[in-house]
């Protein structure tokens, strides 16, 4: 089979995971102006929670997600309430430090509850290989890519047309003006955490289904960072597209240049792109006009 095609298609699968994680980052950044360094940990935590649910109930994949997503939303709300809400009005830097602290806490929590060893997470998807043209895929891989496409579409519609979605962009554009319009900024922040946590759980479960469920999964959060930057930090749609780009580029570097190149290729891409487009591929440049 065509080597290039294989590299691209598996790259799209990892890229879809990056894209989903990056969307979670971008959503919170957009609405709150804070890079949530615990996004990868949130993904890991919600995946483990989903794992426990699956373990006890043996639900089918769709039922499992139907349960996992609302639980994860509740977790996101709770974490925002406990760790972020009390920081309202503090400098952004302090809040970012809190998210770093939260990340460390969540890593410890996962090991404490579920132990340090990797686990096999049966999400209820079949193992039969599906061929799309010449390329073989596992169902979990296709579901991951489809989930990313689905979440991206929903996020786009939500941000563009829904009242809360427009309010998120309004808060991002001008927080004081949002308050003066009667938008409760803290509620919008809570919504952002809630939705980003839902996206994290989808990413987490599908990542675990494709790769593994282990307490070092949080590192995917760091690995998704090039996608966040490339997408423009505050662009949710940009993050998802950038995730795919990074996934494919990484695979191509690994395939044609060498193993060690994989890890750094994402960062090479962002350095190059940021030199040309300082706001990332889709980021909003400041509109300055009086």
């Amino acid at each position: 089979m065509d080597f290039l095609l294989l590299l691209v298609s598996t790259g799209l699968v990892t890229g879809a995971a990056y894209g989903l994680i990056a969307m979670g980052f971008a959503l919170v950044y957009k609405a709150t102006g804070v890079v949530n360094f615990a996004q990868g940990e949130l993904m890991m935590l919600t995946a483990y929670v989903s794992f426990s649910v699956a373990d006890r109930t043996g639900l089918s994949f769709l039922m499992l997600m139907a349960l996992t997503i609302p639980i994860s939303m509740a977790i996101g709300l709770l974490l925002e309430r406990i760790f972020i809400r009390p920081m309202l009005g503090e400098p952004v830097f302090s809040i970012v430090m809190v998210t770093i602290g939260l990340a460390v806490i969540l890593r410890g929590l996962v090991i404490l509850v579920w132990g340090p060893d990797p686990a096999v997470f049966d999400v209820g998807l079949p193992d039969t290989v599906i061929r799309l043209g010449p390329v073989p895929f596992y169902p979990a891989q296709l579901v991951l890519v489809a989930a990313m496409a689905g979440v991206t579409t929903i996020a786009w519609i939500f941000l563009r047309f829904s009242r809360i979605g427009i309010a998120m962009r309004a808060v991002a554009a001008n927080e004081t003006a949002a308050r003066l319009s009667g938008i409760s900024v803290s509620r919008i922040h809570a919504f952002a955490w809630m939705f980003s946590s839902a996206i994290a759980s989808i990413a987490g479960v599908l990542f675990a289904a494709n790769f593994k469920l282990a307490p070092d999964m949080w590192f995917q959060g760091m690995k998704s960072f090039p996608a966040v930057i490339l997408g423009g930090l505050d662009s949710v749609i940009g993050a998802s597209v950038a995730g795919l780009v990074i996934g494919v580029v990484e695979n191509l570097f690994q395939g044609y240049v060498g193993q060690g190149m994989r890890e750094i290729s994402g960062f090479i891409v962002i350095v190059v792109v940021l030199m040309v487009r300082p706001y990332g591929l889709f980021g909003s440049r400041e509109i300055e006009r009086v």
Binding site: G89, R169, E175, G182, S184, R289
Partner: protein, 262 residues
Amino acid sequence: MLSLANVQVVYGRAIEAVRDVSLEVEAGAIVALLGSNGAGKSTLLKAISGVLHPEGGEIVGGTVTFLGEEIGRATPDDIVRRGLIQVPEGRALFATLTVEENLLMGGFTRRRSEVAEGLDRVYALFPRVHERRHEISGYLSGGEQQMVAIGRALMGRPRLVMLDEPSLGLAPQIIDGIFETIVTLNREEKLTVLLIEQNAQLALEVASFGYIIENGRIVLDGAAEKLRANDDVQEFYLGMSGGARKSMRDVKHYKRRKRWLS
């Protein structure tokens, strides 16, 4: 309708920006609040709207009452719901949102049917805004942006609207249009207005009553025509008699109003 009694505002627990301000806005009136740069006008409006906290400001004394209820501790969205809405200084549009999205957000606290009605109303009032409704608001001209800012406030169905220097940075012609709209809204829709201006000439033409604030204190108040006739106001705010611009406090014959006597 809106009344402030001995309001004191402090930034960062140390800088006193507003001290002992009392003022009254009667229902149906246009009241002007005049003062030069840094006098504390915007601070006062932020205090009334409940948005001081994120800037490190706090009301440390006095009471703010709207429609008979104390709102000094109310949240900004609660204050908007009560019908007390501010058009902030420098427009403060959601620059990355379209004009229509800005207006929709102005109606955030209102029901769907009220929002649809509000849009029709704003578009009827400002045909220019209707023409540009699908454009990114950040790219509009200053005058157009001011119209959107006023329209956004109207979307929240205010009973009292507070305008913070609506003339700021606009050409005289545009300013006339904006002021005409304000007067129309006041006359025809019984909208009560608290108008903040540095341009006293303009403000005292449309207002029925005025306050002058300096260094965080109300130093003079009275009916608009009286203020216009006042020598000091003429000298310092209407620029009638040339001369170096001193502070109102340096004027010897100036009768400082003693709040504790009134």
